[in-house]
Amino acid sequence: MTTSIRKIPAIKRFLVGDVAKRMVATGIVILAFIIGLNVLAPYLTPNKPTGARADGQLFRPFQEPSKDHIMGTNDIGLDIYTRVLYGGRVPLLVATFSTLFALLLGVPLGLLSGYLGGFLDKLISLIMDSLFAFPGLILAIAITAMIGPSILNTAAAIAVIYVPVFFRVVRSQVLSIKELLYVEAAKSIGESTLSIVFRYILPNTIPGILVILSMGFADAILIEAGLSFIGLSTVVPPDASWGLDVAIGRNYLLSGSWWIITFPGIMLIFATLGFSLISEGLNDLMNPKLSE
């Protein structure tokens, strides 16, 4: 016999509905771990990422993971574990700069365009939509190929991709918030345009901005790695960067040196996963329709 009566178990009552929060928390833990590794790298390994052991000698290249080198050594005899620890600095820096650039440009434009409307809005939107439609990586490739890769240059190239993302999200939120009654109420008590934008609209777009911000971090790390992969690396060997190390490893793939690409790749995934979990969780938290 079937029944549609459900006893709700106590454990379910206890656990209900915090999937989103747990996603954000997991993301933060992963990130803290990754950033911790990068900051504490000098204390976690006796070796240097670019050169050598304490005595200045290189290791034997192409060593499989072993007790001495838990992640093996690479083509020129550097310890991969050490490089993995240090290799996040460049992508994280590039990601930070690029999302900051994009945020500083995209958010004000979105606010302006969305709130003022009219021809200006149409024009900016057209430009931003065109940029948005363009494959981001290819745009970044074009820009870095022309201006040459460096931390700031690469960050700027990636920022160009993300400006329209911030713009679109902020603008669409402004458009919907602008129609809300509390904005009209603010007008009715005589609030100035500036005050409406900054007191009533901007604070309510912040959750949306945070979602894009963390997604932007994840994407920036991936794009930086992608640029490294096709030879537009931000740093040159022997400096360490996860993307670059994966790119180098590609040359030794057929000989089966799996460890050269595997470990930096996993670190890349972990770092981006941290950001994307935060973004996904925040998105749920702000969208009550999707959470129970």
Partner: protein
């Protein structure tokens, strides 16, 4: 007369895509408010009643200068609202305020109640921090959000619907205005606390000598609260009168139908209902002549061509209907 509205019109342009603009030269408009006139006395609660989309909320927004009229004039205490410069309009806000339908939506979710209520004072300037706090607490007290200190630091989501609406009213009171436009102040509130909001409005009128324009679709509460009522249909006022006259001796077929459509909370009362077919017409191309003529059971041919104007039929009782079937009887 505190407020005089004369031949007020508001047409909203219909948003068109770029290509439609190319194809058709003619611009089309939503005739939201189409040539209405009325006046409100000091200390009066004036009701503007109609179905959704009849233009009553637009009228309310026009009356506080939130949007500009397409044509016509609004005089408040002798000065014309629509001709005011921004700075003068800001001064006028001290005297005119508005309450909106949805209390939840009319409070910024990221702003504490105290801050929200203090904004009108801060915008006007000339108040010290101390004064502002005193005024805000006093306003909270007036709307019975007591003890006021408890509510000062709360966020809107921590309040119930009725409490939020009282906070909104407090915000509109803090400058001690003379005139308040209340746009469906009880529509989104639980039945059991509606009367509380209505009593609050009534007490403000008595105690503070305030004047209200009450916009509502609910005839029963309009009858409870208002002194005079104007009935709107499709952008036009079809009938104005004192509430008892209007409810006991309605003249316009629309008023009559509207009154008979209200469900009466009394099972012994048997309604002789006038069932009107069809639905409210599009205001982009409103019907020629009387706007109600396609649905009106008493329509004559003349109604299809001649636009009726408000005609005096009794003591301050005006109706815009050509055949006047009930009056003649």
């Amino acid at each position: 007369m505190l407020l005089n509205v004369i031949n007020l019109k508001k047409y909203f342009p219909v948003e068109k895509s770029f290509i439609e603009k190319l194809i058709t030269k003619t611009k089309s408009f939503v005739h939201a408010v189409d040539d209405i006139s009325f006046s409100i006395r000091k200390k009066e609660i004036f009701g503007l009643v109609g179905e959704s989309g009849c233009g009553k909320s637009t009228t309310g927004r026009l009356c506080i200068g939130l949007i500009e009229p397409t044509d016509g004039k609004i005089f408040f205490d002798g000065c014309e609202i629509s001709s005011l410069a921004k700075r003068e309009l800001k001064k006028l806000r001290k005297k005119i305020q508005m309450i909106f339908q949805d209390p939840t939506a009319s409070l910024n979710p990221k702003m504490r109640i105290g801050e929200a209520i203090s904004r009108p004072l801060k915008i006007q300037g000339n108040y010290s921090k101390q004064e502002i706090k005193v005024e805000v607490l006093q306003a909270l007290d007036t709307v019975a959000l007591t003890p006021p200190e408890n509510f000062y630091h709360r966020y809107p989501y921590e309040l119930s619907g009725g409490q939020r609406q009282r906070a909104v009213i407090a915000r509109s009171l803090v400058l001690k205005p003379e005139f308040v436009v209340a746009d469906e102040p009880i529509a989104m509130i639980d039945v059991s606390v509606r009367a509380q909001i209505m009593d609050l409005i009534e007490n403000l009128r008595k105690g503070r000598q305030m004047t209200f324009l009450l916009i509502t679709h609910d005839l029963a509460s309009a009858r409870y609260l208002c002194d005079r009522i104007a009935i709107m249909y499709a952008g036009k006022i079809v009938e104005i009168g004192f509430k008892n006259e209007l409810f006991t001796n309605p003249q316009h077929p629309y008023t009559k139908a509207l009154l008979s459509a209200v469900p009466v909370p009394d099972p012994k009362h048997k309604i002789d209902r006038i069932i009107i077919g069809g639905e409210v017409p599009s205001l982009i191309n409103p019907p020629k002549g009387c706007r109600f003529n396609p649905r009106c059971p008493y329509a004559e041919t003349v109604c299809q061509t001649v636009e009726p104007i408000l005609d005096k039929v009794g003591d301050e009782h005006y109706v815009a209907c050509i055949p006047k079937p009930f009056y003649k009887k």
